[in-house]
Amino acid sequence: MEELTGDGLTLGDRGSPESAIRARQLRKSYGKFVALDGIDLDIPKGAICGLIGPNGAGKTTVLKSLVGLCDAGGDLAVIGHDPRLAREALMQDACFIADVGVLPKSLRVIDVLDYVDDVHPKFDREKALRFLSTTDIDLRKRVKALSKGMVTQLHLALVMAIDVELLILDEPTLGLDIIYRQEFYDRLLTQFYDGRQTIVISTHQVEEIESLLSHLIFISRGKIVFSTEMEALQRRFVEVAVTPENFSLADELKPIHTRSTLGGKDYLFETDDDEQATPDRRQFERLGRVSTPSVADVFLAKLGGVHE
């Protein structure tokens, strides 16, 4: 695991053949607006990587670049293909769900299945039908007549029936209620992911995917500001619930973020190095109750001032 600071944050082994996604100096502008400002990425095969960032950070542009829907500059290899030159070949081994509303509304469910069956050589129609039989979706209904949750189930049925190496999800559960959101991720993990595939997910609802992730990337204003493996995150960050009498001691340890709570403050500390995490933790234990911060807490600490 390699971690750098500044614009050149990377994940995984640089240039390794085991990289599912490798990008160098990825750039994209819309007029004067710089959407991607020289991003480097290395996402290993088999990773479930969360791409987290505020609105307008460039998450969707990154994901669109990965599947050739956006003509970004720089070097880019996605499961061995340059998406700008070989999108057709790439999409035989990759799937992309933009959000819940992207299935063509005027088509019937069976028409959508027929279409994918005709054009995708790796689509297993029977598998999709088996999945759909566990839902309330009527194959003769038009997509526009389905609820948002059902459209998501249909999309998931399509994706799970395609034998792909890479799945890219851009806010896949946006606008869904909590039951459908939970079901979406449960099925993704239990019925799709078997360790061979690489999944990249961008979402605002980071707390829901936290337990799934093996890797994490924070993006802001077109730059990667932080990236880590989830295991390293748990070693590297410490949250301490500090009581008022220990505030000054805690302040001396230079927290990266504080948050007022009932009767005290939560302090978030970043340890310098993974190896030193254990002695640091003992030091923190003297200040109050020590816990592992959530991804949302680290996100706020790293990007909290982004809207200011």
Binding site: E88, L90, C95, F96, A98, P104, S106, Y115
Partner: protein
């Protein structure tokens, strides 16, 4: 992978692409022709009822007995010419479809779904060209044939009830079938003849941020104006005028079809159309 598997995969892919166009454009491709044919039938019936019974009987007698013993191939061009208006409808439907095809693709969220499939921009654009040149004329012709059959059977039953003999029935059916075939071939010829227009409209449909048809027409007018001002000539206007009469698309025999398909004008138009369609493929790639 064997050659037959490759062919099967390619055929299935094209079936998927063309069926997508039909399913997404049902109103324009299916309902509009049905409505046009229905209106034409109703209008014909209304005019027919304006005649007295004697005149109706005479008209039916003319229709079902006049063609007895006549060579259908000789008579078919007359009926084909009478059906020239259908070419205007087919071309109108095809050009309307093209103007919105790539544009709607980009404007709707479903763009991301279509683009998540392993289909290249070239295949997508070519499927739209094939739809306008082959699928729309084929669907229109099928509906026109069905409408003609209904009208023909109704007329035969009505004539029989009036006591009119149906001696020229076989010749009439043959003539109508040949004429419908010629109208179908004429429609495909018309769309091939109009390949430059197909490419030009697709070019704007692939990139314009709004009202692509207006941009396509505006672009053409601007080019024509520029030619007039800079070169003091009107080649573009003359060229467009030379390709816009439905009568020139009419095909009256297989020899006629061959002569039109391999004419210099047709091949030049196809070349220009091909260049513009390639431009549309590039435009679509960069219109993110």
């Amino acid at each position: 992978m064997s050659d037959s598997s490759i062919v099967t995969l390619a055929a299935r892919r094209w079936r998927g692409l063309l069926m997508r166009e039909i399913r997404e454009n049902r109103s324009l491709m299916l309902y509009a022709p049905c409505l046009l044919v229905l209106v034409a039938i109703l209008l014909g019936l209304r005019l027919f009822t304006l005649f007295s019974l004697e005149r109706q009987t005479a008209a039916m007698d003319l229709l079902f007995n006049r063609f007895e013993g006549i060579n259908a191939l000789e008579l078919a061009p007359l009926l084909t010419s009478a059906g020239a208006l259908n070419l205007v409808f087919i071309v109108g439907i095809a050009l309307s479809y093209l103007a919105t095809s790539l544009y709607s693709d980009r404007r709707e969220l479903s763009y991301f779904f279509w683009q998540s499939m392993p289909i290249s921009d070239r295949a997508t654009v070519m499927s739209k060209v094939a739809t306008s040149v082959l699928v729309i004329p084929a669907i229109y012709l099928a509906i026109l044939t069905l409408g003609s059959m209904i009208l023909f059977i109704s007329a035969a039953v009505y004539s029989f009830s009036l006591g009119v003999e149906l001696n020229g029935l076989v010749e009439l059916v043959s003539t109508m079938s040949i004429a419908l075939g010629f109208i179908g071939l004429s429609a495909v010829t018309a769309m091939l003849w109009l390949l430059p227009a197909v490419g030009w409209i697709l070019l704007f449909s692939a990139y314009a941020t709004r009202v692509p048809l207006l941009w396509a027409i505006g672009g053409l007018v601007a080019l024509s104006l520029l030619e007039e001002v800079v070169l003091s000539s009107n080649t573009i206007d003359t060229w467009i005028a030379s390709r816009s009469s439905p009568w020139q698309y009419l095909v009256f025999s297989i020899d006629d079809l061959g002569a039109r398909l391999f004419s210099y004008d047709m091949l030049f138009g196809a070349l220009l159309g091909g260049i513009l369609i390639s431009g549309a493929i590039l435009m679509r790639r960069f219109a993110d």
